[in-house]
C-alpha cells in the first residue's frame, strides 16, 4: 500500500534530476578553484614539459614532451653537477632543521621550567634578535665568518642558523600551555629535566616540531644569497646557486636543462611540505574566536 511517505520519496526522487545529482552543489565554486589551481600549477607543469625538450622544441612552442630528457638529465646532473649540490643542500637543510629544533626545545624548556636570576634579561636578549634579520647583516657576517676561517665550509652554512628566537618562543608558548602536574609528576618519579623533555614534552609537541621543521627545511633549502656569498667553487655549493649558474651566462640559455634542474631542485621541499602540511597549517594557527 503506498503511504504518504512513499509518495513523498518518489516525488523527491523525480525532482532531483540526474543532472543535479551528478554535478556537486556549488559547482561554480569548484570551477573557480580548479581554474585557480591550474593557473598556479601551470608554470611548474610547463617547466616539467620543457625539461624533456630541447631549445628548438621550446622555441617552436611544442606542447608535447620532447625526447631530450636523457640529454638534459646529463647536462643537469653531470655537466652542471647538480647531484652534488642536491646532496649538500639535503645535508645542511637537515642539519639546521634538527639542530635548530633541538636548541629551541632546550631554550623553551629553560624558559618555562626553571627560575633563575636575570631571566628577563636573557629573555630580552633573545627577543631583540627578532629585529635582526640575516639579510641586513650579511656584509658584516660575511667578513666575520671569513675572519674565523669558516669561509667555504659547511659550518658557515649551518651554525649561524642554529639559534632562533621564533623557535624558542614557539616552544616556550607551547610548553607554557602544558599542565604543571606533568612536570610535578615527573619530578616525583625522579626524572631529570632532560628526561622530562624528551620523554614527556617532545611526544606532546609533534605538531609544533613539525611546523618548525617544515618551515626551516624549506627556508634552508631555498636560501640563496648567503650560500652564494660564502661558498666558493663547486664542492660545497648548494642547489639554488647551482641552478642559478645554469641560468646565467652570456650565451643563449639552454632551457631544457634549466627547467629540468628547476623541477628537480623543487622536489625535496615540495615533498617535505606536502608530508608535513598538517603541521605547517597548525603552525600558522589563526586564533580566532568563533
Amino acid at each position: 500500500m503506498a503511504t504518504t511517505l512513499d509518495h513523498t520519496r518518489a516525488a523527491e526522487k523525480s525532482e532531483t534530476s540526474l543532472w543535479a545529482r551528478l554535478i556537486p552543489k556549488r559547482w561554480y565554486v569548484h570551477l573557480i578553484l580548479i581554474i585557480a589551481c591550474l593557473f598556479i600549477g601551470f608554470p611548474l607543469f610547463y617547466a616539467m614539459l620543457v625539461g624533456t625538450q630541447s631549445n628548438s622544441d621550446v622555441f617552436a612552442y611544442r606542447f608535447l614532451p620532447g625526447d631530450s630528457l636523457a640529454f638534459n638529465w646529463d647536462v643537469v646532473m653531470n655537466i652542471a653537477g647538480l647531484w652534488r649540490y642536491m646532496i649538500n643542500s639535503v645535508f645542511i637543510a637537515i642539519a639546521v632543521t634538527v639542530g635548530k629544533t633541538l636548541l629551541s626545545l632546550l631554550a623553551g624548556l629553560a624558559f618555562v621550567y626553571f627560575r633563575f636570576p636575570g631571566k628577563w634579561i636573557v629573555f630580552g636578549f633573545v627577543l631583540i634578535t627578532l629585529m635582526m634579520p640575516t639579510e641586513i647583516l650579511i656584509i658584516a657576517l660575511f667578513r666575520f665568518v671569513n675572519q674565523i676561517g669558516w669561509g667555504n665550509t659547511y659550518l658557515a652554512l649551518i651554525v649561524p642558523f642554529l639559534a632562533s628566537a621564533t623557535g624558542s618562543f614557539l616552544f616556550r608558548q607551547h610548553f607554557a600551555n602544558i599542565p604543571a602536574e606533568l612536570s610535578e609528576a615527573a619530578q616525583l618519579d625522579g626524572a631529570n629535566p632532560l628526561q622530562f623533555l624528551f620523554r614527556v614534552l617532545v611526544p606532546m609537541s609533534w605538531n609544533t616540531i613539525g611546523a618548525l621543521a617544515v618551515i626551516q627545511f624549506v627556508y634552508m633549502w631555498n636560501m640563496y644569497i648567503w650560500p652564494a656569498l660564502i661558498m666558493q667553487g663547486q664542492e660545497g655549493q648548494v642547489v639554488q646557486v647551482g641552478l642559478r649558474t645554469l641560468a646565467g651566462g652570456d650565451q643563449m640559455t639552454s632551457f631544457g636543462p634549466l627547467m629540468l634542474g628547476a623541477v628537480i631542485a623543487s622536489i625535496p621541499p615540495i615533498v617535505v611540505f606536502l608530508l608535513l602540511q598538517k603541521q605547517f597549517m597548525s603552525g600558522f594557527a589563526l586564533t580566532r574566536d568563533k
Partner: protein
C-alpha cells in the same frame, strides 16, 4: 608635489655654528646637559604618576639622558659636529642623538614603570611545576645565546662600525670617514638643496612613518562592529589615502631631489615593486577567495593544490619565468601575440622588467594569500551578513562594511609577510631573472647592497645601506612580532 628648489639656498647665520660650539670639548657637555634635562623631566613625570620618589626619577632620568647621546656620538667622536662638516652631517648627528635618547629612555621608562607597579617584567611563563636547578637552565640556553651573540649581535655592531669606515673587501686597512657613507647617499647640496628642505623632508618622512605605525596598530585590535573602537569611515579610508599620497609625493620628490641618483632609483624600484606585489597579490587572492569560500568537498585537496608554490624557491621562480617571459621562446608573449596581437619586451625594457619580477613574485605567493583569505572568510559570522542584508545593504555594501573590516587582521598579516618577502627574498628572483637590470630598473635595495658590497667591494657603503634598510624594515618586524603574539603565530 614638493618643490625643493623654491626654498632659499641657505639660511644665513643659522648654520654657521658659533665657534665655541664646534669646540669639541664644550659641545658634548652641552648636548649631554640638554639631554639630561629631557631625561630628568621625563622620569620625573613618570615617577610622580606612579607614586615613586620623584627625586629618584630626576636622578635616574638625568643620568640616563646624559649618557644617551654618548651612545652614538662617542664611537663617532662627535665627528658630525666638526667645523668643516656639511649641514647634512650636522643634521644626521642630531638625528642620531635623538634616536639615542629614544633607545635609552623609552625602554628604561618601561622597565621602571613595571617595577614601580610591581608588575612582572617578562610575561613570566614559569610553570608551577618548575625544576629546582638554577644552573642547568643557563646551560640549556647557552648554545642559543652564544650563537645569537656571535652571529647576530656581533655582526649587527660590526655593520654599524663598518658604515663609518672606508673599507674594502680584501684590504685590511680601513679609514674612518664619519657618516660620509650615509650623507653621500643624499644629493650633493651643491645641486641646489637647502637645509630647510632636508629638514622638511626628514621630518615629513618621520611623521609619515609614525602615522603609518599608529594607524597600523589599529589593525591589531579586532574591529567590533558597532563599538566605539572603530574609527569613523572617513578616517579609516581617508587617512590611508592621505598618507599614501603624501608618502608617494615625498618619496618621489625625495628620490629625485633628496637622495643621490643611484640610491633614489633603488628606493623607487624597491618600493614600487613591493607595493605592486602587495596590492596585486592581495587583491587577486581576495577575489579568488571570495568566489570560493563556501565549505565544499575536497577543500583540503584544493588547499594543498593552491599553497604548494610556497615551497618553491625564489631562484626557481626566477628560472621558470625566465623561460615564460622570453621574448621569442616564452609562451607569455606567444599568447599575447595570438590573443591581442602585440608582445611586451619583458626582460629587455626597463619599464617592463619590474613587472616580470612582480608577476613572478605574485605567482609564488598567491596560493599563500588565497589560503589565508579563505580561512579568514570562513570565519566571518554568517549572522552578521544576514543582519546587514536585513538592514538593507546589498552584497557589495555588505562586503565593504562587514567582510573587509573583519578580514583586516589577515590583510594586515599578509601585507607584512608579502612586504618582507618583497624586500628580502625577491633577491633570488631578481638575480636569476633580470640581474638587477636592464639599466638597474630592477635593482632593489637588497640587490644594491649585494652589488656594492660584494661585487664592487665597497663594504662601508654597503653597510650604511644595510642600516638604512634595517631602519625601514624595523617598523615591519616590530609590527609583525606584536601581531604574531596576539593573532597569528608562525615560526621562522
Amino acid at each position: 608635489m614638493l618643490r625643493p628648489y623654491l626654498f632659499s639656498r641657505k639660511l644665513p647665520g643659522v648654520l654657521l655654528m658659533p665657534s665655541f660650539l664646534t669646540d669639541l670639548t664644550v659641545l658634548p657637555i652641552l648636548i649631554s646637559a640638554v639631554a639630561a634635562i629631557i631625561g630628568a623631566s621625563l622620569f620625573y613625570v613618570t615617577y610622580r604618576r606612579l607614586n615613586g620618589n620623584p627625586l629618584v626619577g630626576i636622578a635616574l632620568g638625568g643620568v640616563a639622558g646624559a649618557i644617551a647621546p654618548v651612545l652614538f656620538m662617542l664611537p663617532l667622536n662627535y665627528c658630525t659636529f666638526e667645523a668643516e662638516r656639511d649641514p647634512a652631517d650636522v643634521l644626521l648627528g642630531l638625528v642620531l642623538i635623538v634616536v639615542g635618547l629614544a633607545i635609552v629612555l623609552l625602554p628604561l621608562r618601561w622597565i621602571v614603570s613595571r617595577l614601580l607597579q610591581n608588575a612582572p617584567l617578562a610575561g613570566d611563563t614559569t610553570s608551577p611545576g618548575a625544576f629546582k636547578s638554577r644552573l642547568l637552565p643557563l646551560f640549556l640556553l647557552a648554545p642559543t645565546l652564544i650563537i645569537l651573540a656571535m652571529f647576530l649581535y656581533y655582526p649587527s655592531l660590526e655593520t654599524f662600525r663598518l658604515s663609518t669606515l672606508l673599507a674594502r673587501l680584501d684590504a685590511r686597512r680601513t679609514a674612518f670617514i664619519c657618516v660620509d657613507n650615509f650623507t653621500r647617499l643624499l644629493r650633493d647640496p651643491g645641486d641646489g638643496q637647502s637645509l630647510l628642505t632636508l629638514i622638511g623632508i626628514a621630518v615629513g618622512l618621520m611623521i609619515a612613518g609614525v602615522l603609518v605605525l599608529r594607524f597600523a596598530a589599529h589593525f591589531t585590535d579586532q574591529p567590533l562592529i558597532g563599538t566605539k573602537r572603530r574609527a569613523p569611515v572617513a578616517l579609516r579610508y581617508g587617512v590611508p589615502l592621505i598618507i599614501g599620497v603624501v608618502l608617494y609625493s615625498l618619496l618621489f620628490d625625495a628620490a629625485s631631489g633628496f637622495f643621490s641618483e643611484d640610491y633614489g632609483r633603488s628606493l623607487l624600484v624597491t618600493f614600487g615593486i613591493s607595493i605592486a606585489i602587495v596590492v596585486i597579490g592581495l587583491s587577486l587572492s581576495l577575489l579568488i577567495a571570495t568566489m570560493a569560500y563556501q565549505p565544499i568537498t575536497g577543500a583540503k585537496i584544493y588547499r594543498t593544490l593552491l599553497i604548494w608554490p610556497y615551497a618553491i624557491s625564489p631562484v626557481v621562480a626566477g628560472a621558470i619565468f625566465l623561460l615564460l617571459f622570453n621574448p621569442s621562446g616564452g609562451i607569455i608573449n606567444y599568447f599575447l601575440r595570438g590573443a591581442f596581437g602585440f608582445t611586451i619586451p619583458w626582460l629587455n625594457d626597463p619599464a617592463a622588467a619590474p613587472w616580470a619580477i612582480i608577476l613572478a613574485s605574485v605567482w609564488k605567493s598567491m596560493g599563500f594569500n588565497i589560503l589565508f583569505y579563505l580561512a579568514g572568510l570562513q570565519n566571518v559570522p554568517k549572522d552578521l551578513l544576514e543582519a546587514g542584508g536585513i538592514d538593507g545593504a546589498n552584497a557589495f555594501q555588505r562586503f565593504r562594511h562587514i567582510v573587509i573590516p573583519m578580514l583586516s587582521p589577515i590583510t594586515f598579516f599578509l601585507i607584512i609577510t608579502n612586504m618582507t618577502y618583497a624586500f628580502f627574498e625577491s633577491f633570488g628572483t631578481v638575480d636569476t631573472l633580470t640581474n638587477g637590470g636592464p639599466l638597474n630598473s630592477t635593482s632593489t635595495l637588497m640587490y644594491e647592497i649585494y652589488e656594492i658590497g660584494i661585487q664592487n667591494s665597497d663594504l662601508g657603503k654597503a653597510a650604511a645601506q644595510s642600516i638604512i634598510l634595517f631602519v625601514m624594515v624595523i617598523g615591519l618586524t616590530v609590527i609583525q612580532f606584536r601581531s604574531a603574539d596576539s593573532r597569528v603565530t608562525y615560526g621562522a
